[in-house]
């Protein structure tokens, strides 16, 4: 009868020891999607100086309400961030209605509907624009964007890299316009 006990205790010790070591997967392996993402996240600007592109980029970020966190002109790096609303009105309305119905159903008892606190509230968006002069005199610009979404209780509900091509297209449209304005000295 003692043997299973000893075995269990040994297993528990082994479990404790192994909980401190982890196997780490390939975090730095480029995915198959990388090539597609690169196309989506990059544009080439011709007959323009790198400094002009960077200056236009800062202006565009300011237009969109970002704060500049980091600029390193010699490496073509601009990083910026902003906190923005993340409420999906339809989701908020639906959850609030559901919670209200639950409250009505539970009548005089304490309300059990607390899903409203779980809906998305704010998001912290961070992006990097890196410019890279090319041999032919053009300047390549690449943008990467991430965000963290917090719910109404302040808990992290999602963190991810933005892979929506429309977002990047819209950003580059603004940047192209700003580069043009920069060239015109406006």
């Amino acid at each position: 009868m003692r043997k299973p006990g000893v075995l269990l205790a040994l297993l528990a010790i082994l479990g404790l020891l192994s909980s401190c070591s982890t196997t780490q997967p390939g975090y730095f392996n480029p995915t198959q999607a990388s090539v597609g993402e690169r196309k989506m996240q990059a544009r080439i600007y011709v007959s323009v100086e790198e400094a002009e592109v960077m200056s236009a980029a800062v202006a565009v970020l300011q237009d969109m309400g970002y704060s500049i966190d980091e600029v390193e002109a010699r490496l073509g790096v601009i990083s910026a961030s902003k906190r923005a609303d993340a409420t999906n009105r339809l989701e908020a309305f639906g959850t609030l209605t559901l919670d209200s119905m639950k409250c009505a159903l539970t009548f005089l008892m304490a309300c059990s509907g607390n899903h409203y606190g779980e809906i998305d509230d704010v998001q912290d968006i961070r992006l990097t624009m890196v410019s890279m002069p090319q041999n032919d005199g053009s300047v390549a610009v690449r943008i990467t964007i991430q965000r963290r979404i917090y719910d109404k209780r302040g808990r992290l509900s999602e963190q991810s890299t933005i892979t929506d091509a429309d977002v990047y297209a819209s950003l580059f449209a603004k940047l192209s316009k700003a580069v043009f304005l920069e060239e015109q000295g406006i």
Partner: protein, 136 residues
Amino acid sequence: MIRFLLMLLPILAVSACASQNAAITASDSQMQVRQMQTRVYDSLDKHDTLRSVLATLQDLGFVIDTADYEMATITATKLDEYQLRVTVTVKDRNHSQLSVRANARIDDQTIDDPRTYQDFFTVLDKAIFLTRHNVD
């Protein structure tokens, strides 16, 4: 025997994982860590190497937190189901070589798997090649 092993459990629970203060420094061998995290390149072009590091990090989906040319240091973060943070430094090694060092953390853990760093340098090798030949 069981009683002895059971007495051992709380001791292990406390000591098996590093204590809070021990986390401020690290217990691993400095030389081993450096070797694992460093690669030497036959180049003296710090500027192009740093640009290649930026391209590599963006290829891997990172956002740049800080970049300093003088100190040749770049820190970046990737958000997925985890938070991956990496700092890359470039240094002159001798008259003809540069060394690039990367150290990474995943959430609250240091990445101490040599293969992970090898993967990073494999991507960086390609980026350095592309930068040298100016291919986008």
